[in-house]
Symmetry: D3
């Protein structure tokens, strides 16, 4: 139950269609997922977000699969169900094995636990961790 | 300003000292960071947490540096300042370059943005992302 | 799937009915939304919350539509799906245009992004931003 | 204690200086706040973020002060201390009165409360709030 | 570094003084903590919040110390440093032992961990947990 | 729609079955809830989590029902719907009355509100709340 209509390709304005075309060409698939169809409610925001995502998620000093792990980690902590589903699917499409999924799960579970423990005890930052 | 006292090695009970010794041996350093000194308020929890962390953060199907990225990502989303400092320092100690830091930053920034956009629009999960 | 029963007008105790009556009179509609029907599990809390909401959401130094934008912004960051739906509907009922929705979306997306960036880098507060 | 160095104008590369120059020209002040000096760790991200912020925060269908209210609301819910300080200062610079601050505070407090109440009771979305 | 001035008793308006007087009388101490001095920026909100807190935190079907545990738990998950400090102090003043603190810590750490694990795996609610 | 398959007893490996057997014996019921069936994707994590939960949630210096209140409080603030459902059911099974539920609700609502108010005003910690 989105709070905005999902805009299909055939109903889109030319500027939205241009982004959809670039998504399809970049990803080599006709599939446009619901996030972009919803974001088309604001074409300038759609363009900014797509261009940002295309630049940021491309492999560079960090590989593309690792970037999906990071995305999943943020999405879990923020409780974004859609984002967890889409980036877990993306990670699997990029080769994440079940052993890797299991370790990702364990690290995320551990991080949540120690985040809570540290915050409750209000542990002060060690000098050794400070950047000069 | 922790809400608990930080327990130094010399003031610790034998069960706490045993964990401190294992932290030192495992990490090959005498340095015990404040998190463990605070957690010593509950020795059973200290033991559980250290043993969990030792098992979970060891390299496996996911390498040790990537696990630090994931830890940072969760800690940022949860707003845990201590955790961000300690795991950024750990990532650098494990070889994170400034180029990698910069890309980690960009992915985390992007993930927060799309988490917010998706949540505001309440985008429904695409069938393609569902596990059978 | 609420974790409490939803209490309809006809099944409500007199003190709950009095609140329902005031909601109806204030909003000039017979419609009571599910939040209040659930909150009736604790009549004193229902009364406190309704009276607070009535006072706080009334137009004053900030107009009623702007207050809905603020409510949506908080609800998105807290991941409260019900609250996002109800306050987006309320904003539309108070005249929010699609152009305004699109800009609200963009600001919320931007704020989430820079919140994440700032938190990851632990940026210190500029002196210029401090209140004397 | 940032986890990155803050890059001053005189130490910046030409691409970073170009952004700093645009910030100064757009805002009609020589002051560059710490967020941008930290973000210069990744010049491409600095450019993307500044250009996004410039476009998104400009007055449009929603006025500039209201956009600051929204920014503050998100930043409070995400617990971003720096962001709260900087956008509260920005709101005051754009004319926010103390009466408006007081009402903003009240709405944000109310929204947090009802977000928690709704989430605890897992209130189902009313059909009336759903977009057709 | 509050974003509002802290209002002392001698500088307060009569309506704010009346609340301060009631806080002192209820708590049987002259001490007014900073939260109330800050909240005095909006006297109506100060009154609403104090009266709500006085009613809600009083012992009833749940005792006063347990209510502090619950308050700490929420404050940790929301990352509110001030709230963690003030309610940990309140719990100790109401008799919380170090053994109880240690168990509270363990439960909060465990809850954060399983919250993260459940959210990452998007576990569906068992029918057995649903209210008829 | 979990992002992992739920593993039933008959399909489980021996190490997973051993945990399921211990859950059943400890809880004196054949029912295994979905969390454990999902977590079986990583048997070592399943074992660590179950053993941690068994130790932490047992009555000690804090009784078992109070521990459920704390768990619910964390889960609400983290927005974990599954966790709210399962621990609300657990609290009821351990004797939580509707009056207690209503007070738990009121405390959690109050804590969320003051967390937001404090964070927005960035209230500094009183010296009286600091541990020496």
């Amino acid at each position: 139950m989105a709070t905005v209509p999902l805009i299909e390709y055939e109903d889109a304005t030319p500027d939205v269609r241009a982004i959809y075309d670039d998504i399809r060409a970049t990803r080599k698939t006709d599939f446009i997922n619901n996030f972009w169809k919803a974001l088309a409610v604001n074409p300038a925001q759609l363009k900014r977000t797509w261009e940002g995502a295309k630049a940021v998620m491309a492999p560079g000093a960090i590989d593309a699969l690792t970037k999906e792990y990071i995305y999943i980690a943020v999405s879990v902590a923020n409780g974004c169900s859609y984002c967890i589903h889409s980036h877990t699917a993306a990670a699997r499409a990029k080769g994440m094995t079940e052993a890797q999924y299991g370790e990702l799960l364990a690290v995320i579970g551990m991080a949540h636990s120690t985040n809570g423990l540290v915050t409750m005890m209000q542990v002060p930052v060690d000098d050794a961790f400070k950047v000069q």
